[in-house]
């Protein structure tokens, strides 16, 4: 008589699952952010690393604390808070006081995410809102750029003229001053927010994410292409516009946030184009030099409508009956 097993696990099919899970996806995003972090530490020095660690720690701490206060399950294991922290850090100037960064983390994690029920239920990207509130709330510390000797000659000479500004390439361009060469822009030998300076490093991370199928190329490609096309329309240098400011960071890491972007490919393309259009409109016309985060936030808010209009059509015959 064979040995009997009568207490087997009964669960619904499918009984196999794909290897990707939320934590592994978030881990991939963290890995993809490493090159940009490395460039940032190279250009700005060790404080870049300290500020990043500070943001990650605060975000994870706030996530843990808010879940605990709400008596809900602990979710720091899904690493989403760490990703938010690192991306938020990338959006900050390197000398921002730690307590201000903590305020940003508080807004990102508690106000934008946990108040709305936690991961997957927020309608706006936490890091974006964190950045915008800091940007508006702490306007001057958030524009307090740091000059280091590793930066482009154009920035160093501009700083000699007016040591207080330490202007970003976008600000130099707005003021009609010489800007860094495209190569310097691409590599990231410029100043700006900590993690957004190096287009090369961010692209490397983006390629990693696309290869690992973590993100679909729809949003970054349509976003970047729109920025490039509109630069030409406005008579600007597309390479400069793509590498300057937060376009790369925004297109690859913030606009692609699953939760706050459309779910279908068509929707994602519309989303990317919208981000590009608003970014360029704000850059060219508004009083803020940079519009990436506002553009992404606006598209986040439009996402439910995009989702509504780009729903897949169910696989069924048009007339409702069987088609021949």
């Amino acid at each position: 008589m064979a040995e009997r097993h009568t207490n087997l696990i009964v669960a619904s099919a499918p009984h196999v699952v794909s290897p990707a899970n939320t934590a592994s996806i978030m881990r991939d995003v963290l890995i993809a952010l490493i090159p940009a972090l490395a460039v940032s530490v190279y250009v700005f020095g060790i404080r870049a690393l300290m500020l990043s660690v500070c943001c990650v720690v605060f975000c994870v701490f706030f996530e843990w604390l808010s879940r605990r206060i709400m008596k809900r399950s602990n979710t720091i294991g899904d690493l989403s808070a760490a990703v938010t922290g690192l991306i938020l850090a990338f959006n900050l100037p390197v000398r921002l006081p730690f307590w201000m960064a903590a305020v940003g983390c508080l807004i990102a994690i508690v106000v934008v995410k946990q108040l709305f029920g936690g991961l997957g239920q927020n309608f706006a990207n936490p890091a974006i809102v964190g950045r915008i509130t800091l940007f508006i709330g702490f306007a001057s510390p958030m524009a307090n750029w740091t000059i280091t000797s590793r930066m482009s000659q154009a920035i160093l000479s501009a700083a000699e003229v007016d040591a207080t500004t330490g202007a970003t390439p976008l600000a130099l361009s707005a003021a009609g001053l010489p800007v860094p060469t495209n190569m310097e822009m691409f590599l990231g030998l410029i100043n700006g927010s900590m993690g957004e300076i190096s287009a090369a490093a961010l692209l490397l991370g983006g390629i990693y994410l696309i290869v690992r199928k973590v993100i679909s190329p729809a949003i970054p490609v349509s976003f970047l292409a729109t920025v490039a096309v509109l630069s030409l329309v406005f008579g600007l240098d597309p390479i400069f516009q793509l590498c300057a400011g937060g376009v790369m960071l925004g297109a690859i890491f913030m606009a692609t946030d699953y939760v706050t972007s459309p779910i279908t490919t068509t929707g994602r393309i519309i989303f990317g184009i919208g981000c590009g259009v608003f970014t360029m409109l704000i850059r060219v016309y508004a009083s803020y030099p940079e519009g990436v985060s506002f553009a992404i936030l606006l598209m986040n808010i439009l996402t439910p409508h995009i989702d509504r209009l780009t729903r897949h059509k169910t696989f069924k015959p048009a007339e409702g009956g069987a088609s021949k």
């Binding site: 029920g117 706006a124 915008i132 704000i282 009083s287 803020y288 985060s293 553009a295 606006l298 808010i301």
Partner: protein, 199 residues
């Protein structure tokens, strides 16, 4: 008045000086009727409609009746009565002559009398010293701005309505926090219209 001025007045009322999200007028319907896109749009269209008509009536009253006779202080009383009467008349008119429109807008009309955006726009037109045409443009723009805010917010609410909110934030509290985040993105456009139209 140049085309640029026309666009400037309309667009700034829609975007940079959005009535709901930057001037806090019409918050009640913004919070109350934005749950479903259909009703949000119906309400907004009714608001645009009444705003424009109310301005068309109150501006001449102020300019040709109140100010010349030195009874400018009667503004508040007269305006609110005019608006209340106007809304009633519009409703009766629609019911009788355009029943289709009445069916879709009818239920929103009575609520509009006490929508502070209507009285607000009438008073502000006078306060800002706008001429008649400017006032009309401003009213139209403000109405469209209201519609835009309602449209955006209705989408947001459809996404977050059934979230697992923390106990204390269920209901209006979370809606207000969502409105707060929504109003953030309007700040990004500050200064834009001035630059485009060279104002």
């Amino acid at each position: 008045m140049s085309a640029a001025t026309v666009f400037y007045i309309v667009l700034s009322a829609i975007i940079t000086n959005n009535y709901v999200l930057s001037k806090f007028l019409g918050i009640c319907p913004f919070l109350g009727v934005s749950k479903k896109l259909d009703s949000a749009m119906g309400m907004s269209i009714a608001v645009i409609f009444v705003m424009v008509i109310a301005t068309a009536v109150t501006w001449p009253i102020q300019t040709y009746l109140l100010t010349p006779n030195g009874i400018g202080y009667m503004q508040t009383i007269i305006f609110i009565l005019v608006i209340a009467a106007l809304v009633q008349m519009i409703e009766i008119f629609l019911k009788k002559y355009i029943p289709g429109l009445h069916k879709s807008l009818g239920i929103y009309l009575p609520l509009i009398t006490t929508n502070c955006a209507i009285l607000g726009v009438c008073v502000l037109n006078i306060d800002n010293g706008y001429g008649f045409l400017q006032s009309m443009l401003n009213s139209f723009g403000s109405g469209v701005g209201f519609l835009l805010a309602m449209f955006l917010f209705a989408g947001v609410r459809s996404k977050i309505e059934t979230n697992d909110y923390p106990e204390a934030f269920k209901g209006v509290a979370s809606t207000l926090v969502a409105a707060s985040i929504t109003s953030l993105c309007f700040l990004g456009f500050s200064g834009m219209l001035e630059k485009i139209f060279g104002m």
